[in-house]
């Protein structure tokens, strides 16, 4: 992981070169040991920001696996999945998965990068003429549907933001650590109602890389590795007509079914979760779709069981996207790996037999999940 900054220094591929080097060194490997590179380019950046020849910039000349994986916010999890499949099939043994992004550009705010560069267009494209800009809008649409159908209030969203903040206060890497109360959430300005400033991700510039290796290497390495037990995907599309609610009944359910089965577990065996949570609404929907509680009851689940420090189901233990740092799908992966390698300091969890690590993209229509453990 590079330094995560709130200003622009260098381009994404340069940050990626740095994080790739750090990950290889941390894994006890040399550059010539790496035989796979899977690149997670940010959807808001051009391909030139993270080109295929990142291989050359990073000095990786022995590759038998190379790809730019594009599945929006689910890409980082998908790179780990592809690396795992490649290793199991004998195509590679040491695969680097890397993400980098520079939403903070010289002379423009991160909000502009995410808003103007990414109008949320469906097949029809009419969103753009309606001023339906920014990912926030799509998630606000999901949030309003959720709150109305299940007769809930934005206080459910606040519970997610508050738990993230509590975790962030224990994480040296987290960006926002000021204590947050329900009143603070109420006072937070609307951006796209029903989502407030405090419901949104906190963008940073930086890069995160991990090495996925063969099990033999991990087992025999003196430093503790994190293991992948199961994985799955679910992509249900945007069926925008009566009888379907793609905004709040997502493909995460399908990703969960495949991943739990592969790992030989049920949802009851999950000790902690690292979710993609660019907007607080998604944690509510994820809790329901990954099977932790019934539809419309995530707020009650959080209030009763707790997802913050000391809670029964720790979620986003580094502060998530809203209080930790927004490195898209790499945020969840980085925090999971730190926890599973017992390197999470004050926020370290003690029981981690099965951790659910997930990513989603688009308007929550692309989902990928890993079951990981120690």
């Amino acid at each position: 992981m590079t330094e995560l900054r709130r200003d622009y220094t260098v381009a994404s591929w340069q940050l990626a070169v740095e994080s790739i080097g750090l990950a290889i060194e941390d894994a006890g490997l040399k550059h010539q040991d790496i035989d796979g590179l899977l690149i997670n380019k940010s959807p808001i950046e051009d391909l030139s920001a993270m080109p295929m020849d990142l291989q050359d910039y990073a000095g990786l000349r022995n590759l038998s696996l190379l790809n730019v994986v594009e599945a929006e916010g689910s890409s980082m999890i998908q790179t780990l999945q592809q690396a795992t499949m490649a290793i199991q099939s004998g195509m590679a043994k040491k695969v680097v998965c890397v993400f980098a992004d520079t939403p903070l550009q010289p002379g423009s705010s991160a909000a502009e990068s995410f808003a103007i560069a990414m109008p949320m267009m469906g097949k029809l494209g009419i969103e753009i003429a309606n001023g339906f800009y920014s990912a926030i809008a799509a998630y606000a649409m999901a949030a309003q549907r959720y709150l109305s159908v299940y007769d809930r209030t934005t206080d459910d969203l606040a519970l997610v933001a508050m738990a993230n903040r509590e975790w962030a206060m224990l994480n040296p890497l987290a960006k926002i650590k000021k204590p947050m109360t329900m009143e603070d959430h109420h006072a937070s300005p609307w951006l796209v109602e029903p989502l407030r400033m405090l419901d949104c991700a906190y963008p940073v510039n930086g890069s995160i890389a991990v090495v996925v290796s063969d099990v033999e290497y991990a087992d025999n390495h003196p430093d503790q590795a994190a293991y992948i037990y199961g994985m799955g995907q679910g992509h249900k599309g945007n069926t925008n007509r009566r009888g379907y609610q793609p905004e709040i009944e997502t493909g995460a359910k399908n990703a969960a079914a495949t991943a739990y089965k592969m790992a030989g577990i049920t949802v009851d065996d999950i000790d902690a979760c690292e979710f993609y949570d660019a907007f607080t609404i998604s944690t509510l929907v994820n809790l329901e779709m990954y099977g932790f509680c019934e539809k419309g009851t995530a707020g009650k689940f959080i209030a009763e069981k707790g997802i913050g420090p000391g809670g029964q189901l720790p979620i986003n233990t580094g502060g998530g996207h809203t209080s930790g740092y927004y490195m898209q799908g790499a945020t969840a992966v980085s925090e999971a790996v730190m926890q599973l390698r017992n390197k999470a300091g004050e926020r370290q969890l003690t029981k981690l037999d099965n951790m659910l690590v997930t990513g989603y993209g688009g308007r929550m229509q692309y989902h990928a999940a890993l079951i990981m453990g120690q």
């Binding site: 969103e127 309606n130 649409m141 109305s148």
Partner: protein, 142 residues
Amino acid sequence: MEYPKEGVIWPVVVDVAEPFYEGMQKHQVLIQQCQSCETYLPPAQAVCDECGSDKLEWLESSGKGEIYSYVVFHRSFHPYFDDKIPYTVALVELEEGPRVMGHIEFSADQTYSVGSKVVADFKTIDKKDELLFFKLEGGENK
């Protein structure tokens, strides 16, 4: 990606969506129907997601529906909308079943929520294009 700073941004219309935009210029809300299984589909599809048939026909919706979900923009993300915030954009479920997006316009004394009845209307944007929006049924427009 750079967009023009003046006027509303009009999408690059893909072939399959052309009839919807042509309909809008004639003040019609066009949806699609599968000629095989009769499912009404939101614009613009190439294949029916119910039965896989590519025999889809365009037809005019009644324009009546209800709010499926909505958002209120309190921040402008483009200069055209700077003097229009707060504005409401909804997904409207037409009575035939498909959902389409449009602004909800309402007067100060009107309230709305998910499930409110709305009806399609049109207004001229940038003195050239007709854009679909929805008004609360029975309500007066600003």
